[in-house]
Symmetry: C2
Subunit: 389 residues, 2 copies
């Protein structure tokens, strides 16, 4: 039996498994100490009442003889697809056809699976620093991954690739840097992709955090993007669905390589759709009532990011992100790299962050703080960061 050597060759553990292991070791050695978790980007506020009611109603329905729901349509129930069209895209003025929307159990599985559209020999480009899933899922399949160095001097916007690539992963607002691409920057990417025949894989999981009026929330706000772009959406960070698992992928019929049919074939072969109660929950989250409730949570996290950024800047740190994203990307104190500052913050301040090195070579010398904590924890973290520079 010959094992997948590309999978074996991946570094030992997924980034967040590694930070979790270090945190667990610290907690075991220091059982009395309370940790302030600003590491993994997980929500802390409950889901909206509308979501709870929808989950329960769907569950009760499934328990009645006349309410049985078996396999969902592979691309999702029409009610969930319409909710994405009307509750997500319509308010930003983007018209997406129902047949181009595929409901999934989250943006992570879909961004990880998107590489299956590409030939085994295709070359993909990712930002550096990068959300590890894009790079690892391609490395597992044996593809060459080109890194686009994102620098502080450019506000961590990625440069166009210098060499021929088949596809580029973009994430805006960005994980981990917290910076969003401007309309001009995104238009330049679409222009490049159309000219050079390159697929754009656009992760919009943090779109709800865009505050700047002219910053796009969807790739499809750029004319021509439907021809070369695929977009991943998620309710995880906008509606607190990290523990419910629902997102979507848009593969436009106008895609120049005919990827819509291939994505449908891939989904039909590899998944059996998303749980009916979860799709009902998604519908509720994207209803006017659900949106109003979850936007309160988004504003709460945005305020967290503001408080944390303010405290860090006041203490003299160089801070990126936070304005259009729930992440702050902060330069380490002189003489420390990301893992070094991670360890020091853990030991001295019991603050958990994520070391920039975990996101790639150009992440070195930075850490990511996430603003999904409870307000009291954020205030406490801001205070401790001031004392533990």
């Amino acid at each position: 039996m010959t094992v997948n050597a590309n999978l074996c060759a991946l570094h030992g553990s997924y980034l967040f498994s590694e930070t979790a292991a270090r945190v667990a070791a610290f907690s075991q050695e220091n059982p009395g100490k309370t940790l302030l978790r600003l590491g993994i980007g997980d929500v802390t506020l409950p889901v909206a009442d509308a979501v709870v009611r929808a989950l329960c109603a769907a569950a009760e329905e499934m328990g009645r003889p006349d309410g049985v729901h078996g396999y969902a349509p592979t691309a999702g129930y029409p009610f969930a697809i319409e909710a994405v069209r009307n509750g997500y895209y319509a308010p930003m003025g983007v018209d997406v056809a129902a047949e181009d929307i595929f409901i999934s159990d989250g943006a992570k599985p879909d961004t990880a699976g998107a590489q299956e559209l590409l030939s085994p020999g295709a070359v993909v480009a990712v930002c550096d620093p990068v959300y590890p899933v894009y790079a690892d899922s391609n490395a597992m399949a044996g593809r060459r991954v080109v890194y686009l160095p994102c620098r502080a001097k450019d506000g961590f916007a990625p440069p166009l690739p210098r060499e021929r690539v088949d596809a580029v992963y973009l994430c805006s607002p960005n994980n981990p840097t917290g910076m969003a691409l401007s309309r001009d920057a995104l238009a330049a990417w679409v222009d490049y992709a159309r000219r050079e025949d390159v697929l754009l894989l656009f992760d919009a999981a943090y779109s709800a955090y865009v505050a700047a009026r002219d910053t796009p929330r969807s790739l499809f706000q750029i004319p021509g993007a439907q021809e070369v772009g695929v977009e991943f959406g998620s309710l995880s960070k906008s509606a607190g669905f990290t523990g419910l698992r629902c997102g979507w992928t848009v593969v436009p019929s106008a895609n120049r390589w005919g990827l819509r049919r291939l994505w449908a074939r891939r989904m039909a072969t590899k998944t059996n759709g998303v749980a009916y109660p979860v799709q009902r929950a998604a519908e509720a989250a994207l209803s006017p009532e659900g949106l109003a409730q979850s936007q309160q949570s988004v504003r709460y996290y945005q305020e967290n990011a503001r408080l944390l950024g303010e405290a860090l800047r006041r203490s003299g740190y160089v801070v990126f992100g936070g304005a259009d994203a729930p992440y702050l990307w902060v330069r380490c104190p002189e003489g420390l790299d990301g893992w070094g500052w991670f360890d020091r913050l853990l030991r001295q301040a019991q603050i958990v962050c994520t070391p920039g090195e975990g996101f790639g070579r150009c992440g070195a010398g930075y850490v990511r703080f996430c603003a999904f904590g409870r307000r009291d924890e954020i205030r406490e973290a801001a205070e401790r960061l001031g004392m533990n520079a």
Copy 2:
């Protein structure tokens, strides 16, 4: 951009998309006619009360500030893992370690993803006829697929491969033939795998339907299987979870190629676990109360299979399966192939089945009937089959 030619080369549509399209076309032309759906293997009875209560309780918990559940552990919550150990494996006398169990959103995504453990150049063997997912997921990745011809004279048990392969997919009780492998047959497979260094990928999704006392429900009932086997389990057919999506994969620590660590790495990279309410529902389904409730449903479907098989045999058909599985595998009337009988049954009797050709070359001349219908539909189908031979 170079598209995955292996994905493009797959036949146009997934089998069940194709049958669904033909059924939809018929319904559109014949709006008055009621169909008896014995095609796709989807349940028709509601989920157990215990499951409904668990879903609602978890949903309400997630709506409270002190009940927030974000990202689940990648391998599943310990309570769900323990439920699989104690509610599923313990009753059959199989001891599986908690760390070897990975909760997932179903056996289909996991059987489709298992090929990622293999080298791109690995050769896999599947039964013919076969559940299309095993073959298609490997074909999409460009692997060579060897078909093991399963013949009526052998009770549709697959022969050992004649050539060198890296992995073999087995499904018992089998989809589509409805036949289960005996203890001796399975022991011969384990012996072969250990001797020839071959991975066995064992799909146990229909294990709840095994009626014969000595027929194994788990590969791990065979000594030595932990060294060479991976097993996929599902609540879809045992507890009516087709619309809730929960299953598991067991990759034993004793695996000789160290696949447990690789599976964990793959899961951490490509998924964010299963919805918390769904894992609570799985726990409830595997509790004594849940098991008692869902075993009633299993018995109901078993009785359906018995009624259908009896009627078919009485009408002179050659029938396989049905005794240890919810599927009947029936030889077509003289002069008709599977698609031909499918079309005739649809037109003349408004019965939907699945043509054997859709499961592979050796499926030619057979159709699959599934016994998941409502009792009145099954009785009606049995009657019509008698009249429409």
